[in-house]
Each structure stands twice: as C-alpha cells, then as structure tokens.
C-alpha cells in the first residue's frame, strides 16, 4: 500500500519544554482526518486532535498542512500526496492561537474577539413582534443577503490564514466580520445596534484587512469574509465615517475612474494622506532616472460612453458608499486639459490612435495636440 510520512507537531505543556515533530507513516487513502485517526488507533494513542462530526459540519478538525490551512475531514490524502509529490507533510495546529496540546488549539481568544463585534440580533420592536407566539418572518430575498454567512461553523481556518491577524493582534479576524455583517444586513436588527456594530468594526480593524483573499480560499463553507469586509467598509462610509484613509482612498477611485477611466497613483498620497509634495517628489525621482512621468492618466478611448455606464450603475444603486464628487471631477478635467493643452474630448479624438512609446511620449502627445 502507498504511504506518506506525516510530520506531526507534538506538544504537551505538562511534559515538554518545547514542541517537537514526530514522524508517522500513514496510508495514502481517505481523508487527512482518516490518517490522524489511523495514527491514534494503530500507531500512537497519545496524539491529540479535535474531530467530531467527520463530515464538514462541526468545523473542529482544521489544521495546517505544510503551512496551508485545511479542514482535515474535507482533505483527501491523495490530493495532498499529489500536490506535495509524495514528500513528508508537516501537520501543525492552527496559526494565531495558543496550543493546548498537539493539534488542539485554544479558541477562546478569537471567540472573545468576535463577541466585540456584536454578532447577534438586537431586535427592532417595530419589526419583530413582541408576542413570542408570533412568527418573525424572514423573506427569501432577505435571506439572500446572508445565506452564505450563516454557514460559518467557527472552524477558525480563516483566522489561522489571516494576514491582518498576523500583523495586527487587535484585528478581530475574518469570520468575526462576516458574522457581524450577517446581522448588519438583517432587517430585524435595530438601527442603533447597526451604528454600534460599525463603530466596533472600525476599532476592531475594519481598515486593516489587506484583501489577500486567503480567507475566501480556505473557508470550507464558501463564506467570503474579505468581501463582507468590503461591504462593511461601504456601510461605515454610508454611516458617515468618511475621515478614514481608506474612505478617502475609495473617494479617489470613485472620482478618478469616472473622470478618466483610471486612478492616478501620483495623486493618491495627496488625496489620502494630505501629502501634497508627493507628486513632485515622485516626478523628480523618475526624471532623475531619465524617464518621463505622466502627471495625469491618458483618458481612455470611449470615455464619455463609459461615464454613462458608470453613472447608470451608480444612479440605480441603493447601496453605494458615496456619490461621485462632481466638483472634484471638474478639477480632474481641468488638470487633464491643462496637461494636454486640450479639452478631454479633443484629447480623446486626436491622440488615442497614435503609437505607444513611453519615453518622450508626453511631449509627443502635446505637440500632436498643438500645445507645448
């Protein structure tokens, strides 16, 4: 029978000064959980790990294999064998949590962090009937809003894989935000609770998420915490928290993409952090290396029609974080026309089909347009 070596993290705080790894030869069949049970039954009864339902429901058997978070009962040994080409598989407890013994971790800390985001319903008496004998109806279209999030089974896979937890220990964890979001969009939840939840989310690191997408990747239930975090950010801005750097970054995106079809990374430091010198600093850094820098993006071909599409989506949106700031858009239009010595439409008409070569391109474009 084909076998593979599992190098398993072992640590018993009552006996061991430091953790160590122990090798076990297991058959390449069934799931990783089968392999752990095989060890416990046949090779070493002292090995500790958590596992209850064995069928992807309870979420207790999550571990790391060669650093990657896996739900043991959902992970075929054959798959691991093939991905790692038969090499030994290092099995470790989840990251970012205290180890109780071997592969068993202490879930108290992430659970306590989650509670700070109020992931529960605070009933709105005008919606939820006070008589407990009356049904509190949830319509299918409401359910759509959080049908994925309710599947979170607290396996802490996302917490283990999270890049924000890694570098900000106050960060509450992906699952915690998904659970908070689930109630944030519940019609039965009172508005004052939603206000508080947003404030707690902000102090819990809402803007620290790096959007690496690892939480979506590891979630065994298809929850998308990074997307829920975006949704919560949107709601925080709608509630008036517009002073955060992240909110200003979004404003930059909303206005510049509408105005030119592009963002402008030269202006981001100024518009987000008020660093008005950054434009010149960056330009001169490039210039010193002999490269020419466009101060504004070239407006894309078809821009005016694109603007219509953009506006159409936003005009129908009931959810959007903010309105396009048209005075800002006019400012951007002016920057563009000052730069190219022509209005946006002329630039679009005349400059776009020309060959594309960067060095000296700005000068060439300007001369093409009759400016200098």
């Amino acid at each position: 029978m084909e076998t593979v070596t599992l190098k398993i993290f072992r640590y018993d705080p009552d006996k061991d000064n430091v953790p160590y790894y122990k090798d076990y030869e297991v058959p390449v069949e069934g799931t990783l959980l089968n392999a752990l049970l095989y060890i416990k039954d046949n090779l070493d009864p002292t090995l500790s790990f958590r596992a209850f339902c064995r069928s992807e429901v309870c979420g207790s058997c999550a571990v790391r294999v060669n650093g990657k978070t896996k739900l043991a009962c959902k992970t075929p040994m054959r798959e691991l064998y093939e991905i790692w080409k038969g090499k030994p598989l290092k099995v470790e407890p989840l990251n970012h949590m205290k180890v109780i013994k071997d592969l068993v971790t202490d879930i108290d800390e992430p659970v306590e962090k989650m509670k700070t985001l109020m992931p529960w319903l605070v009933p709105d008496p005008s919606v939820v009937p006070s008589d407990p004998m009356h049904e509190s109806i949830i319509y299918p279209e409401e359910m759509e809003l959080y049908k994925d999030q309710i599947h979170c089974m607290l396996c802490f896979s996302c917490y283990s894989a999270c890049e924000a937890v890694e570098d900000n220990e106050r960060y509450r964890g992906p699952f915690a935000f998904s659970r908070a979001y689930r109630f944030q969009v519940d019609r039965r939840d009172i508005e004052t609770a939603k206000d508080r939840r947003i404030r707690y989310a902000i102090s819990g690191g809402l803007w620290s998420c790096v959007q690496c997408q690892k939480c979506l990747h590891v979630c065994p239930k298809g929850v998308k915490p990074a997307e829920d975090i975006q949704n919560l950010r949107r709601r925080s801005i709608r509630k008036g928290f517009t002073d955060k750097p992240g909110a200003k970054k979004l404003k930059h995106y909303v206005d510049w993409i509408y105005a030119t079809g592009q963002i402008n990374r030269l202006y981001l430091p100024a518009e987000v952090y008020g660093d008005s010198e950054a434009v010149e600093v960056l330009k001169s850094a490039y210039k010193s290396m002999g490269a020419e820098v466009w101060e504004v993006p070239k407006p894309v071909k078809g821009l005016l029609k694109f603007r219509d599409t953009y506006l159409e989506v936003l005009s129908k949106s009931e959810e959007k974080a903010m309105n396009i700031d048209f005075s800002h858009v006019r400012e951007i239009d002016r920057l563009v026309s000052d730069f190219f010595k022509a209005d946006v439409c002329t630039i679009l008409d005349r400059a776009l089909s020309k060959s594309y070569e960067s060095k000296g391109l700005v000068d060439r474009l300007k001369s093409l347009l009759g400016g200098n």
């Binding site: 991905i83 803007w207 993409i257 599409t309």
Partner: protein, 280 residues
C-alpha cells in the same frame, strides 16, 4: 499569435515604460500584444466598496472589449487578474447578472459573451508560450543570480480563480529557471502578502509585511526578489524606499528580468528605473 493586452494602471501613465518592456519581451516570444485601448481601471478591488455591481459592469465591459476584437485577454497584474476573473466567474454562474450587465453594455454597443479566455502572465507563459520557447529566447542567462520567486496573493487565492496550484505553485520557478537564474524558492515569508493594498488603509500593516518579507529574502542570501505582479513589485521597490530602515533588497517585475535575459539593456528592461538599485 496575437492577444488582447489589458494595461490596468501599471502599464501606462507614469509606468508606460513597463508596457514598452512587456511588448518587447513578447515580440521576442512571437506574441503580438494588441492594446485594449478602451479598457479602464479594474477598480483595484476597491471600487467594490462603493458598489459591487460597478466592479462587475466595469470589468465585464473590459472583457467585452477583448471579445469584440475576437481576442483572448492577457492581464499582467495579479489584482486586475483576480478582479476581472471574479467578474467573469460571477457572470458565467449567474444568468440574471449577465443579462443585467449586458443591458447596460448595449448602450456602448458592447456585449459580454463569456467567450474570451482570460490569462495572467504566469499561465500565459506556461500554457501558451511554453517554458521551452522562453529558454530559447535567452541570450544573456541570469547565471549565478540568486532570484527569489514571489507570487503574490491574487494569482493563487481564492482557488476558484487561481492560475497555479495555490498550495505548491511552480510556474514562476520554472520561468526563472528557464532564464538561467539560480532559484531560491524556500524562504520563510514566501506566502506572506506584500501589503500593497493596505498602504492607503493601514500603512503600518504594509510596512510590517515588507519588513518581514524582505528580511526573509536576505536570510536566504537572495540577490533579488522577482514577482509577476506589478503591485507587489511597487511595494517592494517604492514602498520599501519609504521604510525607516529599508533592508535594501532589490526587486524586479518578471518581464524586466525576462527582458534582461533576452538581451535588452538595463534601460530597456526597466531595471534602471528602480528606487532600490538593481546591481546589474
């Protein structure tokens, strides 16, 4: 062969030289890049915070522009790739969404059909160009250069859109080997996010991540860190330069190294224009 090239924000404007390099590299590989001029910024995985459907509209429009030319699409930024692939996935799975978006695009004379394939630089080089062709184009092999591969997150996560095996990818290593480099693949922070996207939401997060990644490159005595993502590259170059005590680890965008190995000059490859100097 010809492929539609999506520029995003990283291959134009202040970074137009990166497109010049990209085009020259693909010329040597027998691939013509047709610039998709009407495409816009993908929204950088940020416009979703304004309205998720806006991201779908923008990016299905981007794909539709490639389809209108009858071309598949090459995207050379991890984040653009992830965002556009997610929009495609959403529309291909959800007929209602697709119809709604197509009603919008109709006003521009466009239609998202779902017929164009979307490639990232990595799977395009692996599956369409092939490692052998890359090897053949090398005239100035990177012999003895210890190159540390760094994938970046958005080509590996989430799995639905990954272009390589998320747990144990190999395409970047293979490309670098084809360039003749000595690949140092085993380092502690290989899978740590570069933090680019948090620079304007939580700057300290970015700086901490860069510090860890770049120092772990130093630990394995890497000469240069190479990435197929222009944003990771910017984090490693521009944001590293903003650190209080930069570890001074040079970095390169993948096609810059390819250009150099294909015999282009330091200037033409773009390696000249880095804030953290590349010693070539």
């Amino acid at each position: 062969m010809k492929i539609g090239f999506y520029q995003g924000c990283c291959f134009q404007g202040q970074d137009a030289h990166m497109f010049d390099t990209m085009r020259k590299v693909f010329e040597k590989l027998g691939v013509e890049l047709e610039l998709l001029e009407e495409t816009t910024c993908c929204g950088g995985n940020t416009i979703e915070e304004e309205e998720r459907e806006l991201s779908y509209a923008i990016n299905l429009r981007n794909i539709a522009l490639s389809e209108a030319k009858g071309l598949d699409m090459l995207i050379s930024c991890n984040t653009c790739y992830m965002v556009i692939a997610k929009a495609k996935l959403a529309a291909d799975k959800n007929k209602k969404l697709k119809e709604k978006m197509n009603r919008l695009l109709k006003a521009e004379g466009l239609e998202y059909k779902g017929s164009a394939k979307i490639y990232h630089l990595l799977d395009f080089l692996r599956d369409v160009v092939g490692y052998e062709k890359i090897r053949e184009a090398v005239v100035n092999p990177l012999t003895g250069v210890k190159v540390v591969p760094y994938y970046g997150c958005h080509v590996l996560y989430p799995k639905e859109i990954a272009v390589d095996n998320s747990d144990n990818p190999s395409s970047l290593e293979e490309i670098l080997k084809a360039l003749g480099a000595e690949v140092v693949s085993d380092y502690e922070c290989k899978d740590v996010c570069c933090g680019y996207h948090s620079f304007y939401t939580d700057k300290n997060m970015t700086l901490r991540k860069l510090d860890r990644i770049l120092n772990s490159v130093k630990e394995v005595s890497g000469d240069i860190i190479a990435t197929p993502c222009p944003l990771c590259f910017k984090a490693f170059d521009i944001y590293q330069a903003k650190m209080e005590s930069p570890p001074n680890v040079p970095s390169a965008f993948l096609t810059e190294l390819m250009a150099y190995a294909f015999g282009l000059s330091r200037e033409e490859s773009g390696l000249k224009y880095h804030l953290i100097k590349v010693p070539v």
